[in-house]
């Protein structure tokens, strides 16, 4: 992966946000074949807080999210340039093991995608993969804890051996969150996690995101401005592949600096 951009900046000299940056992106560009999907995005994502990416469809917010755990690597025509660091380490370094990166940066997808296995096996998948439990007791503990932290345990404790695909949509999504946190990631990326859910299930997930904030760095892509306002501390507004404005959620929603941000949050387009 080439990141020989002439405008490369020292991560240390970046303007310090209020909280220490967990993830820092500098001049990130993404091309899908000929299409320039993401243009010169530079942003700092603080640790132990929820950062939301908002913007109209096709603005590049999901594309950028997928850069943070290099999920775009699975798309052959996708090319990423620029620099993204986590704790100061470049994640596009050729010596970095992308598999280990994804264990540190978990992901929850738009549509709940539990594996067609039992609820237990779904959560145990990551810990088994990475050898995190030495025996069955430890594995049980990880599974139960993860389900508890995803506020799903009470609902499924009597049917851990039943298929994960038999749960309701909201439960499936919480199962996917439990699966993601089972490997103790540092960052959790959520790509429109509530877009396939009804309002009640959405409220539960939002509550969960708020609880998880004390332990994880969370980045959430959302179409719903209300959701961004409810769950996040920082908000970044994307438009046509560029990062237009980034700041505290309160500032973005009450006092946006850019005209386009104002137009979007007041519902003039998007």
């Amino acid at each position: 992966m080439s990141f020989a951009s002439p405008m490369i900046q020292e991560p240390a000299s970046a303007p310090e946000p209020a909280v220490a940056a967990k993830v820092a992106a500098r001049n990130v560009n993404v091309h899908y074949a000929e299409k320039h999907a993401l243009k010169d995005v530079s942003v700092d994502i603080p640790a132990r807080a929820v950062t939301s990416f908002i913007g109209p469809s096709g603005c590049g917010k999901s594309t950028f999210l997928r850069c943070i755990n290099r999920m775009n690597d699975t798309i052959p025509i996708c090319r990423v340039t620029g620099e993204i660091t986590i704790d100061g380490k470049d994640i596009y370094d050729s010596r970095l093991d992308v598999v280990l990166l994804r264990a540190r940066v978990g992901m929850v997808f738009q549509k709940p995608n539990p594996f067609p296995k039992s609820i237990y096996e779904n959560v145990a998948y990551g810990p088994r993969l990475h050898g995190m439990a030495r025996n069955k007791t430890e594995l049980d503990e990880i599974v139960v804890n993860s389900l508890k932290r995803a506020s799903l345990f009470e609902e499924v404790k009597d049917r851990l051996q039943e298929s994960g695909t038999g749960l309701s949509g909201g439960q499936q999504q919480r199962l996917c969150i439990a699966r993601a946190i089972a490997v103790s990631p540092e960052v959790i990326l959520m790509d429109e996690p509530c877009s396939a859910l009804d309002p009640i299930a959405t409220a539960k997930i939002e509550e969960l995101i708020d609880e998880l904030r004390s332990n994880f760095t969370i980045v959430i892509v959302t179409h719903s401005m209300q959701q961004a306002a409810r769950v996040s501390q920082r908000t970044a507004f994307f438009h046509l592949g560029a990062l237009v404005e980034e700041g505290s959620t309160e500032q973005i929603f009450t006092n946006p600096k850019d005209k386009r941000t104002q137009d979007y949050i007041t519902g003039r387009f998007g």
Partner: protein, 455 residues
């Protein structure tokens, strides 16, 4: 006469279609029609065609019976009760009537033939006349039923529905018919040979004495050697095709570049199109001698026709079945499951073995089942490469024989249909059918379960 009848029918139907359509169109200019003119026309054509076909079928069958009966009566009324001579006599009458009979025909034969010729012509014309009359009547009826409220569109929908139902029924009835005819002959076989001897006997030698003074043809019908031979060859085949086909499918679905896949997949499927007789002589002339040479060099005794040769080539034959079906089910596993797994930090092979294959497993199992039932029913390769000797042997280097080979051997050439030897073919066929049916039912059940999985 038949082609004339159908030409008339088509002409009448076309006429009815255009006439009714144009009448309906003319009516449409004054008022709103329930159905568009085309539907009035289509319904009219269907109302002409269907009764005419029905009349032709029923009329021809009834006429043929009537003509045969009357011709035989004219020749010699005693023939009617004599089952054996009856068929021969009627064939003679027909031959004579079309001018291919012997010159020295008897008076009776001439009378029969004259009656046959006269009544044939008469009934043909009667069927033609009746069909034509009904067709014209139906066309007129269609013409009269045109009106604004007439629901020709809904009526035509019903016609289509019954037509489709008839086609489905033909397929089902044919299957049932075949099953029952095999079943019937199998019962006849079991009247001559005990089912216990057939199912559990370990000696297969179907030669029975035709005359009392023949020797060495006791006839024993134990199917166990054939079962073992069939299973041995099928096992070898699936051991070859299973791994090759499955791994090829995994490579095609998960690793291959779209460019490679685009030309490699069709080539693999061409393999399924090679006639099995070609694969058969490849097995008999290339693979079998090769195995024998290698075996002899290693100090093993290998028959020149061996289960191994047939099994290997049959395995190659069913590779496309396994790979193509497996490839389809692997590609059908949603990308979101793969993303979920990659997102957890799984490598590609971990994702395939832990998520993709388990999700696709029911489909893969059913692909294997279909491939096995294909191998069990395959004939040509085993005929050419596995031999005819009904050895009860589990050694893949021996010559063995299978159900299909024995059925073919029994039924090739002249035979009488009341001997145990000939009837044994039906019993073998029934066992084979039962075997593949069971495999297919299992495969279908698994596929059905699999379809419910991601929803």
């Amino acid at each position: 006469m038949t082609s004339f009848y159908y030409a008339l029918m088509v002409a009448l139907a076309l006429g009815a279609y255009f006439l009714v359509r144009s009448r309906a169109a003319a009516l449409a200019s004054g008022q709103t029609l329930h159905s568009r003119p085309t539907y009035h026309g289509l319904l009219a054509a269907a109302q002409v065609i269907l009764p005419m076909i029905l009349i032709h079928f029923a009329g021809s069958i009834m006429a043929a019976r009537f003509v045969e009966h009357q011709a035989l009566v004219a020749m010699d009324p005693a023939l009617l009760t004599d089952e054996l001579r009856r068929g021969a006599a009627f064939r003679e009458i027909r031959e004579f009537a079309i001018g291919r009979g012997a010159a020295n025909a008897t008076q009776a034969l001439q009378a029969g033939a004259a009656m046959y010729a006269y009544l044939s012509a008469l009934t043909n014309w009667a069927v033609l006349g009746l069909g034509l009359a009904v067709g014209i009547a139906m066309a007129l009826f269609s013409l009269r039923s045109i009106s604004g409220e007439f629901r020709a569109r809904n009526r035509f929908e019903q016609v289509v529905r019954y037509l489709l139902m008839a086609c489905a029924t033909v397929a089902v009835i044919t299957t049932i018919g075949i099953v029952f005819s095999v079943l019937f002959e199998t019962f006849r076989f079991f009247q001559k040979v005990s089912p216990i001897d057939f199912l559990f006997g370990t000696h297969w030698s179907p030669q029975t004495a035709i005359r009392a003074d023949q020797v060495g043809s006791s006839g024993s019908f134990g199917m166990v050697p054939l079962l073992v031979g069939t299973l041995l060859i099928s096992t070898i085949a699936i051991l070859v095709a299973g791994p090759i086909g499955l791994f090829a499918a995994i490579y095609m679905a998960e690793y291959a570049s779209p460019k490679f896949r685009a030309w490699a997949k069709p080539i693999l499927e061409i393999l399924a199109g090679i006639p099995t007789v070609v694969l058969g002589f490849f097995a008999a002339l290339t693979v079998a001698p090769l195995i024998r040479e290698v075996g002899t060099a290693l100090g093993l005794s290998v028959a020149s026709e061996s289960a191994l040769a047939a099994g290997l080539v049959m395995g190659i034959m069913i590779v496309p079945f396994v790979s193509s079906l497996s490839d389809d089910v692997i590609t059908a596993v949603p990308q979101s499951l793969r993303d979920g797994s990659y997102g957890m930090g799984a490598t590609r092979s971990e994702t395939i073995t832990k998520v993709v294959l388990p999700a696709a497993l029911p489909g893969i199992v059913s692909a294997f089942m279909l491939a096995i039932s294909r191998a069990v029913g395959e004939t040509m390769i085993v005929v050419m490469a596995a031999g005819l000797a009904a050895n009860l042997s589990f050694n893949p280097l021996d010559a063995v024989t299978t159900f299909t080979v024995q059925i073919k051997t029994i039924l090739v050439g002249d035979q009488e249909f009341d001997s145990a030897k000939t009837l044994a073919a039906f019993a073998l066929g029934f066992v084979l059918f039962f075997f593949t049916l069971t495999l297919n039912v299992i495969a279908l059940a698994i596929v059905r379960k699999y379809r419910e999985q991601y929803d």
